[in-house]
């Protein structure tokens, strides 16, 4: 079989287990082979829609989250700079989509993606039942001696409320007592001195910003 024929049968699914495993190992170091596989994925992708859609069990999302949260060794990879993976903004958006799509249709779930000044997706913010959850899409360090602080600004409010310091992992949850997440609320991350802004208001530049909207089905 030619390499292209093997790539085609891999995508089709007809390779045996050991053959599929071997091919994946080869692809890791063989860009040309990986490209052949990617071409076949692209050719045959429309056939995915022949499968009858079916709603997954509601517990599935919780289970996936539990796996990701419990996997300490892997979390280190989240801090890796994305350019090392050769991924662009669209890839981040896709991963983001992946993390969002499994959510069961919630009653009132809000989300936003915090973007950099150049519109690169950096953080995913989700809010539900008063809780705000932040997760980094593109974890990055901050300059030494500085921290990132998360803020929320309700529509019509004059000053933002601090939601806390963003940990190095880029993931944390908070249930603010004085404000409640609502559509249109502005969420931003600013660069602050260690321990956070001494004034209770943002003092440093806005690094990332986004506005909460209702997360719905596509």
């Amino acid at each position: 079989m030619t390499r292209d024929a093997i790539a085609a049968e891999y995508v089709l699914g007809t390779l045996e287990a050991h053959e599929a495993t071997e091919l994946r190992a080869l692809m890791a170091n063989d860009a040309e082979l990986a490209a052949l596989v990617a071409d076949w994925e692209q050719r045959l992708a429309p056939l995915q829609d022949l499968a009858t859609p079916e709603a997954p069990p509601p517990a599935l999302w919780t289970r996936i989250e539990a796996t990701l949260d419990g996997a300490a060794p892997e979390q280190a990879r989240w801090r890796f700079p994305w350019p090392a993976f050769g991924l662009g903004a669209s890839a981040l958006a896709a991963s983001l989509a992946a993390l969002l799509v499994l959510r069961p249709p919630p009653a009132a779930s809000l989300m936003t993606v915090l973007l950099t000044s150049t519109d690169q997706p950096a953080f995913l913010v989700e809010a539900q039942r008063g809780e705000i959850r932040l997760s980094a899409l593109n974890p990055r360090g901050v300059e030494a001696g500085r921290v990132m602080q998360l803020w929320a600004l309700a529509q019509g409010a004059t000053a933002p409320t601090s939601l806390g310091i963003v940990p190095a992992s880029g993931r944390f949850s908070v249930t603010p007592q004085t404000i409640r997440p609502e559509p249109g609320m502005l969420i931003e991350i600013t660069l602050e001195p260690p321990g956070g802004s001494p004034t209770g208001r943002p003092t440093g530049p806005i690094l990332f910003i986004g506005r909460l909207t209702t997360a719905g089905s596509s």
Partner: protein, 153 residues
Amino acid sequence: MLQSVRLFGVAMAILRDRDAASDAVHDGFVKIARRAAQYDPDRGAAEAWLGSVVRHAALDIARRRGREIPTDDATLGDTPVEADQLETLASGEDTVRLRECLAGLPEKNRQGILLAFVHGLSHPQIAARLELPLGTVKAWIRRGLLSLRECLT
């Protein structure tokens, strides 16, 4: 349609078991979150990429189970993937071309490809289902894929 509904459907078509399909979606998403699967925006929509990651996770589970699902499985038999079902596919340019190219293949050739891609059947399972010798099925699928590539070029 929710992506989760589409993706779970992709896994169910291969595994026909809600627990196993859940495992497939779980495995696929964990892989994505850990960056073990990479998305190249130059090669199609993110949606197709998600589907492919979940589909391969489902195929891996099917392989681990030895693809023991009988080919006369009732749920499969009731909903065979036939050529006319291709008409239900979206009307995007790529889809239309693929549909036309598939339509140009001999029927059993096309059926073999669809049974493998959509339902995750192995060569021996396809041979049993189409009542053809294994060697014939292997050759036809290989030839069919080659024809598809030429047709789509």
